[in-house]
């Protein structure tokens, strides 16, 4: 009887297993494989040594990490209070829907919309002119790049935080207040630690894609912000040096693994005891 159930369970795994093998394992393996070949299709470790000896690539990596960090930081600063506030509202599902809504719109369209808003004759500058400051150069600045990237990432941070706040048992908060903790203490000692998994999930969902943003760096940043994504695009589309492009890809994957480990749960939390 037990053996049968076990076999059944294995059967259920097949679609997911296939998906995993075809669309996760195989592409990653291909990227790693390609990263060991030079332009002449000879096996080499040269791509990696080029990467680690090139001031350009290292600076670019630093840039990517720095901007991804800033984007994640700002996203977090905005998302946590928002998620907390949303949770107190009456029609939360409706408000939550409004938060999710922009994610249904293609990122390119959103970028073009911001071009319209930020351009010389755009809404933002009309407003600045109206209040007497006069038109400013908003597009193609680091600030506008971070602004738009943050705007795009916010829903992906709000959702996990909202869910973890939702999971928080209000009894803990009440207990903390009953025992004489101030609001700040309750937040610091009870609410925040218990919602930390949501924050971590949000950081993963935001930091990792931010590392390799490249359309925004050109459209909004005017290529004044150069990240690893820009280099990968160039290697695949212009120089056709897939080896070097893959090498940078591998570096990004490693960076992601590091982020996942740092923000991952060390001990299992929540869920039914097994």
């Amino acid at each position: 009887m037990r053996a049968v159930t076990k076999r059944r369970t294995w059967l259920y795994f097949i679609p997911y297993g296939l998906w995993l093998a075809l669309f996760v394992v195989a592409p990653v393996a291909l990227i790693i494989y390609q990263s060991f070949f030079d332009l002449g299709h000879h096996f080499t470790l040269g791509n990696y040594s080029t990467y680690f000896q090139s001031a350009t690539y290292l600076k670019m990596t630093l840039n990517s990490v720095w901007y991804a960090f800033l984007i994640t930081l700002f996203t977090g600063l905005i998302s946590y209070p928002t998620a907390y506030f949303l949770h107190q509202l009456k029609h939360r599902q409706f408000w939550l829907l409004l938060v999710i809504l922009p994610t249904w719109i293609n990122i390119l369209l959103k970028a073009y919309a911001f071009i319209g808003i930020f351009s010389q004759a755009g809404l933002a500058n009309q407003f600045l002119t109206f209040i007497g400051i006069g038109p400013q150069q908003i597009l193609f600045t680091n600030a506008s790049f971070i602004f738009v990237a943050t705007y795009i990432q916010i829903p992906f941070m709000i959702l996990p935080i909202y869910n973890s706040i939702d999971d928080l048992n209000p009894a803990f908060v009440n207990a903390s207040r009953d025992l004489g903790a101030s609001n700040w203490q309750t937040f610091r000692r009870v609410i925040f630690p218990l919602t930390l998994p949501g924050v971590k999930a949000g950081v993963q969902a935001v930091f990792i894609p931010s590392l390799s943003l490249f359309m925004l760096t050109r459209l909004i940043g005017g290529n004044k912000v150069i990240t690893l994504g820009t280099a990968i695009e160039e290697h695949f589309l212009t120089t056709m040096n897939w080896g070097m492009g893959s090498t940078i890809g591998v570096i990004l994957i490693v960076a992601m693994i590091i982020v996942m480990t740092l923000t991952g749960d060390k001990k299992p939390k929540g869920g039914a005891p097994r």
């Binding site: 332009l39 010389q120 004044k224």
Partner: protein, 356 residues
């Protein structure tokens, strides 16, 4: 559960209906079967009315698929599984495809319009004797300026862009070869140089331009220039033609001291199948009337001499897009460089982008 099921059935029914309709539409327009031609072209790079006319005259239906970069097209044809009869690579890509044995030679005996072409656009270094390619359009790299903010006399040469009065005013097209090439021209070097030291010097020269560079962008340049976002841009003549059509204050200059001369060409990839249709199309497109109509629609310069004669005088004599002989003599065609040199251009260019 019931609602979910009816939703799924509804969706499937709609999909089925759409599939049926599109298939019957395709059948009525004859895109299946043997009377077809598969054209692999840049986006919006042929007058659609010509395709209808071609079908009316010859009965061949043209299926157009589009690409947005030479490299993307190369990769797709190289990997196989496609059935393109004609493709439209730029000059350096013609050499690259030729070397990779991806092209079939043209059968000149089946081409009727060869005499219509201007000799100076034939027999170029990328395809001596035009064994594989028929020129489609040609153009240049130049400066677009807005006469509301910049005087014509201020931007006649590449060096003018370095002027301190253009601080944060210039938009560059995001293309390593073109921007490095521009820098090389100001250093009086060949745009096809393979010398690493020269390329390093070109990057240094570009770095001094950085304070004047407002942004390095791609297609969006057109929109920005039309909206007066920047007074100056470095871009290709074809893109410039579209900008000029959208904003009457914009003008285009090809610096006399030299610039790039580029060609887009019709070639027959190895994957071709419909030879009668291919030659019917090549002959159709080299007819002066059709080539002229296409040139008017696209706004690029036609290499077809007889077609040019049919264009309105204002277009024909337009110094911006049909520059005088002296300027043309100084233009340089990009040669297909070895991959490691292409890499070098891109690395230097990337460092310039990091710098600014």
């Amino acid at each position: 559960m019931k609602r979910l099921l009816s939703l799924i059935i509804g969706l499937l029914a709609v999909c089925g209906l759409l599939a049926y309709t599109s298939q019957s539409l395709e059948k009525s327009s004859g895109s299946t079967g043997s009377k077809v031609l598969n054209l692999y072209n840049w986006g919006d790079y042929i007058d659609p009315n010509l395709l209808t006319k071609f079908q009316r005259e010859t009965g061949y239906h043209v299926n157009v698929e589009t690409f947005d970069s030479n490299e993307a097209m190369y990769t797709k044809i190289n990997q196989g599984g496609t059935h393109y009869d004609l493709a439209v690579p730029s000059e350096y890509m013609v050499s690259k495809m030729k070397r990779a044995h991806l092209l079939q030679p043209l059968d000149k005996s089946r081409l009727t319009g060869w005499g219509n072409f201007d000799q100076q656009f034939l027999n170029q270094s990328f395809d001596r004797g035009n064994r594989y390619s028929m020129p489609y359009f040609w153009g240049t790299l130049g400066i677009v300026y807005n006469d509301k903010m910049v005087k014509a006399s201020e931007v006649q040469h590449w060096d003018d862009l370095w002027s301190p009065k253009f601080r944060d005013k210039i938009m560059l097209i995001d293309s390593a070869r073109d921007i490095m090439g521009m820098s090389l021209v100001t250093l009086h070097k060949s745009m096809n140089t393979t010398d690493p030291q020269t390329l390093l010097a070109a990057e240094k020269r570009l770095n001094t331009l950085a304070p004047n560079v407002k942004a390095v962008v791609a297609d969006e340049i057109k929109m920005y220039m039309i909206q007066d976002e920047a007074p100056l841009a470095v871009d290709w003549s074809g893109e410039a033609a579209e900008m000029l059509a959208g904003n009457s204050h914009l003008h285009y200059v090809v610096p006399r001291e030299g610039s790039n001369l580029w060609f887009d060409n019709l070639v027959i990839p190895k994957t071709a199948q419909h030879y009668n249709a291919i030659y019917a199309f090549l002959n159709f497109m080299s007819e002066p009337k059709n080539a002229a109509q296409n040139a008017e629609y696209i706004g690029y310069a036609t290499p077809n001499k007889k077609a040019k004669a049919l264009l309105p005088k204002s277009v024909r004599d337009d110094q911006e897009f049909y520059p005088d002989q002296k300027t043309v003599d100084h233009l340089q065609v990009y040669r297909d460089l070895a991959p490691n040199i292409v890499e070098l251009y891109n690395d230097r260019y990337l460092e310039f982008k990091m710098h600014h």
